[in-house]
């Protein structure tokens, strides 16, 4: 997964109207790649094959609720930020989401576009920083193992 590519946002809501509205708003204000799914199971299949920076999902959906979806997202792409956007103002689901799946933000419907954009923007920054950090750590690991290799070859040469 590379950084500094076009940010990818995944929106999941069983109401097509929510996806249409958020997609239109993000297209107007940003250059993000936006994917929308009304079926959470299809969204999981998308997560299996395509890297995303942030997942924004409804809570109450058929077959799989938002927290179950975000738990799958966490397994598949742990760096991707997880946002719950729900009309179901239920403190219990919010607490469960924060504790169990490390929720990035909990938003309620009706949402405020400016706030939604701010959340998505900072979530993307966070995800890309995390990915960049992972890459740097991987590079450091590689450099470290190269150094160890050189060191052992030097030792062999001198001893």
């Amino acid at each position: 997964m590379t950084t500094n590519t076009q940010p990818a946002v995944l929106i999941v809501d069983d109401e097509e109207m929510v996806i249409t509205s958020i997609r239109a708003f993000l297209r107007l204000e940003t250059d993000y790649a936006i994917d929308g799914f009304t079926d959470p199971e299809e969204a999981v299949r998308r997560l299996e094959t395509h890297p995303v920076d942030v997942v924004v999902t409804d809570y109450l959906m058929p077959r799989m609720n938002g927290i179950q979806l975000l738990a799958r997202a966490k397994e598949l792409q742990p760096e991707a930020a997880r946002v719950l956007l729900t009309g179901h103002a239920d403190k219990q689901s919010a607490i469960q989401a924060i504790n169990e799946i490390g929720l990035y933000q909990y938003l309620e419907k009706p949402w405020d576009n400016a706030q939604l954009l701010l959340v998505i923007r900072t979530a993307i920054e966070r995800t890309q920083l995390l990915r960049s950090l992972s890459e740097k750590i991987a590079q450091l690991d590689m450099a470290h193992s190269n150094l160890k290799d050189v060191q052992s070859r030097l030792l062999r040469a001198f001893l």
């Binding site: 109207m17 929510v18 179901h88």
Partner: protein, 279 residues
């Protein structure tokens, strides 16, 4: 003389007590109705917040889009060139949002209509009613409670207008539909059927939920009897439902149930109400 007067006074007293009892009954029904509405409120709020969220967002996007469109058109006019492709894209976006707004408004007005049918006082009188309309309006309300996990099917027969108290019938339907939804754990299906039965109309509400345990069946219409957890059931729903159907409308109510397979409630109402005054 005294002996002759006593029964007359006692009859008066009985009439007064009966009137008081009826008034108390009406108040209880009214209180129960408000309480059942209160239980639906969080579902209703959820179902209204989604379309409102869309409309608010779309309004903002439309305003910004029109500003951009005006800018593109103004620039094109100044240059004497056709508007850029981006302008047409904006028109398409706004057209799409207008279509979403229409659906969203229809959704909200459907729920409001259901609330009005349920709560309005001007429909408290006996009149000829299209029960299918009452069912459709009530389904909008009950759907707020379980729409995402329960599929609802209607199988409407060719029924005549029925002389009834629409507001009370709406309460009967709401009670039975909410019960049906609560009987379903997880996902399931509710089917509402109507049939014309020679001077009567039958409404059947079937669910594929857990069914009623045989030992509970004899008591389900008794006031105060409930198998639901504290805070969910009051034990009044089916008692009030029975009273509205049997006492108020001179109809019949019954059910068939199989544990683990589901329950069907049948409500039969005469097409012409046998009495004319409100009970």
């Amino acid at each position: 003389m005294n002996e002759a007067r006593e029964p007359a006074m006692s009859a008066e007293e009985m009439l007064r007590l009966r009137a008081e009892l009826e008034a108390a009954n009406r108040k209880l029904t009214e209180a129960y109705k408000l309480m059942s509405l209160g239980r639906l409120v969080s579902g209703i709020v959820h179902e209204i917040n989604t379309p409102i969220g869309s409309i608010l967002s779309n309004n903002e996007v439309t305003t910004r889009s029109l500003e951009k469109l005006a800018q593109f058109l103004g620039e094109a006019q100044q240059r004497g060139t056709p508007p850029p492709a981006k302008a047409l894209e904006i028109v398409e976006t706004v057209r799409g949002l207008a279509a979403v707004d229409k659906i969203a408004c229809e959704r909200i007005s459907g729920i409001i209509r259901g609330l009005k049918t349920y709560a309005r006082v001007d429909e408290a009188d006996l009149r000829k009613v299209d029960l299918h309309e009452v069912i459709r309006d009530t389904l909008k309300l009950s759907g707020c409670e379980y729409r995402r996990r329960v599929a609802v099917e209607t199988d409407f027969g060719d029924i005549p207008l029925v002389e009834c108290y629409p507001q009370l019938m709406s309460q009967v339907l709401l009670n039975l539909l909410v019960n049906a939804g609560q009987a379903i754990e997880g996902e399931g299906k509710i089917v509402v059927r109507t049939r014309n039965e020679d001077g009567w109309v039958r409404i059947s509400i079937s669910d594929n939920g857990r069914g009623i345990q045989p030992e509970h069946r004899a008591r389900i219409f008794a006031p105060g009897f409930t198998t639901k957890p504290v805070g969910i059931g009051t034990g009044l729903g089916l008692a009030i439902t029975r009273e509205i159907v049997v006492d108020t409308h001179k109809g019949e109510i019954g059910f068939e149930s199989e544990v683990g397979a589901g329950t069907t409630f049948h409500v039969r109402i005469p097409v012409e109400h046998p009495g004319s005054g409100r009970p």
